[in-house]
C-alpha cells in the first residue's frame, strides 16, 4: 500500500490560500531540478497528519509543507526553486 497520495489532493487545502488551482501550477524542485505540475507531487500526511508534505516524484526531497493551525496556515516552499503560474 502506498503511504502517499498524488498532488491533486493539495487542491482542497491550498484553495484556502490561493485564488487559483495550484495543482496545475508548475513547480521546479530545488533538490534535483525536476519540473512538473504540483499534481505530480507525492503527498504525505494527508490522512490526519500534523501537516501535508509534498515531495518531488524524482528525488523525494520536500518541495512544500502546509500546516493548518486553528488560527493560521504555514506554507513552506523552500524546496521549490519557482512556481510557474500560467496566466
Amino acid at each position: 500500500m502506498l503511504d502517499y497520495v498524488d498532488g491533486s489532493s493539495l487542491a482542497g487545502p491550498m484553495r484556502e490560500l490561493f485564488a487559483v488551482d495550484v495543482t496545475a501550477v508548475e513547480g521546479r524542485c530545488a533538490g534535483c531540478g525536476l519540473a512538473g505540475p504540483l499534481a505530480n507531487l507525492r503527498v504525505y500526511g494527508h490522512d490526519h497528519g500534523p501537516g501535508v508534505v509534498g515531495r518531488c516524484p524524482g528525488c523525494d526531497e520536500v518541495i512544500l509543507r502546509l500546516v493548518r493551525t486553528p488560527t493560521d496556515a504555514w506554507l513552506d516552499l523552500r524546496g521549490a526553486v519557482s512556481l510557474r503560474f500560467s496566466m
Binding site: Y4, G51, D72
Partner: protein, 196 residues
C-alpha cells in the same frame, strides 16, 4: 448523570492531557517514505557543539544496558495511547562520556526528519533510544530499527528512524517546529502550535 455526557465518543479520563482522545491502535503518521536501514550499516552519532563525534554501531548500542519502560504517549493529532511498553538505552547512558556545555539537542533521522528538544529533557530517565515495542523489534513504520522516545512531550518529538543527536548552545527548530508547531510541545499544557 447529565444526559449531555451519554453521547460522548471517547470520554477524556484523568490520565489524558487536554484535548486528547484514547486510542487502542497505533496510528502511523509519516512526512515521507519509510526508510529501510540495514542493521549492519545503521549507526547513531552524537555531535557536540565543538564538532566532536561519538558513534555507536547497532551491536554497540544493543550491548549497552537497556531499560524496559511503560509509558503513555500523546500525539499532537490528538490521539493518546496508554501503558505502551518499550525497551531501549537511556540517552543519559549515551551521553555519559560526552563533554558538552550544550543546552539543546536537535535529533536527526534517516530520511531527513529533525526535531529539537532541550537537553535536560533527554536526561534523568526521560528519554531513550528505543528498539523494541511490546516485546518485538520496533517495526519500520513505527520508527525501527530505533527511534527516540521522549514520552513526556508530544510524540512528534520522539523522532522515528533516529540516527543522531546534534548538541547545540542555541535552540534550533526542527521539521515541524519550523512550520508552526511548538518548540517544546508539552501535552499537559497543550503546547501544540507556536504561541500556545
Amino acid at each position: 448523570m447529565s444526559p449531555g455526557f451519554s453521547g460522548r465518543r471517547q470520554p477524556a479520563g484523568p490520565k489524558l492531557p487536554p484535548g486528547q482522545y484514547l486510542t487502542q491502535d497505533f496510528p502511523v503518521l509519516s512526512a515521507g517514505p519509510t526508510p529501510r536501514v540495514p542493521l549492519d550499516t545503521w549507526e547513531f552519532t552524537v555531535i557536540t557543539e565543538t564538532g566532536e563525534r561519538h558513534t555507536w554501531s547497532w551491536a554497540e548500542l544493543t550491548a549497552l544496558p537497556a531499560e524496559d519502560v511503560t509509558v503513555d504517549i500523546h500525539c499532537v493529532t490528538k490521539w493518546s495511547k496508554l501503558q505502551t511498553h518499550w525497551r531501549g538505552v537511556p540517552i543519559a547512558t549515551l551521553l555519559d562520556d560526552v563533554e558538552t556545555a550544550a543546552d539543546f539537542a536537535l535529533a536527526h533521522s534517516y530520511g531527513g526528519y529533525t526535531t529539537n528538544v532541550p537537553l535536560d529533557d533527554l536526561l534523568d530517565g526521560q528519554a531513550w533510544i528505543a528498539y523494541e515495542f511490546e516485546g518485538e523489534p520496533l517495526a519500520p513504520e513505527h520508527g525501527g530499527p530505533a527511534r527516540l522516545l521522549v514520552p513526556h512531550l508530544y510524540f512528534w518529538k520522539s523522532a522515528k528512524w533516529v540516527r543522531g543527536l546534534q548538541l547545540l548552545l542555541e535552540d534550533e527548530p526542527g521539521f515541524w517546529e519550523t512550520a508552526g508547531y511548538h518548540d517544546y510541545g508539552d501535552p499537559w499544557r497543550e503546547q501544540r502550535y507556536q504561541g500556545d
